[in-house]
Symmetry: C2
Subunit: 106 residues, 2 copies
DNA sequence: TATATATGCAACTTATCGGTTGCACAAGCT
DNA sequence: AGCTTGTGCAACCGATAAGTTGCATATATA
């Protein structure tokens, strides 16, 4: 059951975890304190996020600090790139339409 | 069961449908021909994509042409924006590190 | 009008997902 | 050494998701 980034960010709890550890690394316990769920549940989410390399682990004694690995998010950015061209051209079409209307008003 | 864009693009078949109709509008039957699945299954995916406004419908007689609505993809782009700042700053950190090394070599 | 075609919807099945509970293990603390 | 703390893993459960089959409806076509 190979998981990809799209499935990883589909879950709202996992997106919240990502937002939480984006700025500073946190331990599973610290993360779990921010949610209405069990520590084990968070641990499971972290496992999924780690598997698809969205987060990285920093082992310090018996504690594990999790932090965001932005590199994987770039993959999503690259996926969006394929459609960015479309919406930019559509914007240009709208833009030229607005220009036409503007010219007519003159 | 309100579905959001993250869940919508989590499914690989739905992402393939998005890629397929990105450039030109297509009917459900035409779309289904591209997949190893039933027409009804594709119809279900289209319903989900329509519900969260990722695709739009163009009714022509008894045929329905589906096409991509890029506006909703911008939502994903905006979500990424929150982390784009991070990976750009990390790139800058790497950049300044490389500059330091370069200067030392001199 | 009868038939064929395009589509959506409902019911059912199987697989997977998210959560909980319980346990194991390793690292600190007294 | 014994206790506490931080963590992961496995087993189980209920909900949901994706796919199939069958049917209903509307629009073409003969």
């Amino acid at each position: 059951m190979r998981r990809d980034i799209f499935q990883a960010i589909a879950d709202p709890t996992r997106r919240a975890i990502i937002a939480l550890i984006a700025m500073q690394a946190m331990t599973p316990n610290a993360i779990a304190e921010n949610f209405n769920t069990t520590r084990q549940s968070v641990s499971k989410h972290l496992r999924i996020l780690t598997e698809c390399e969205l987060v990285k682990q920093d082992f310090q004694g018996r504690e594990i600090y999790y932090s965001l690995d932005v590199n994987k998010l770039k993959e999503l950015d690259r996926w969006l790139d394929r459609y960015r061209a479309i919406w930019e051209s559509q914007f240009n079409q709208l833009d030229s339409l607005l220009t036409k209307i503007k010219n007519k008003e003159k």
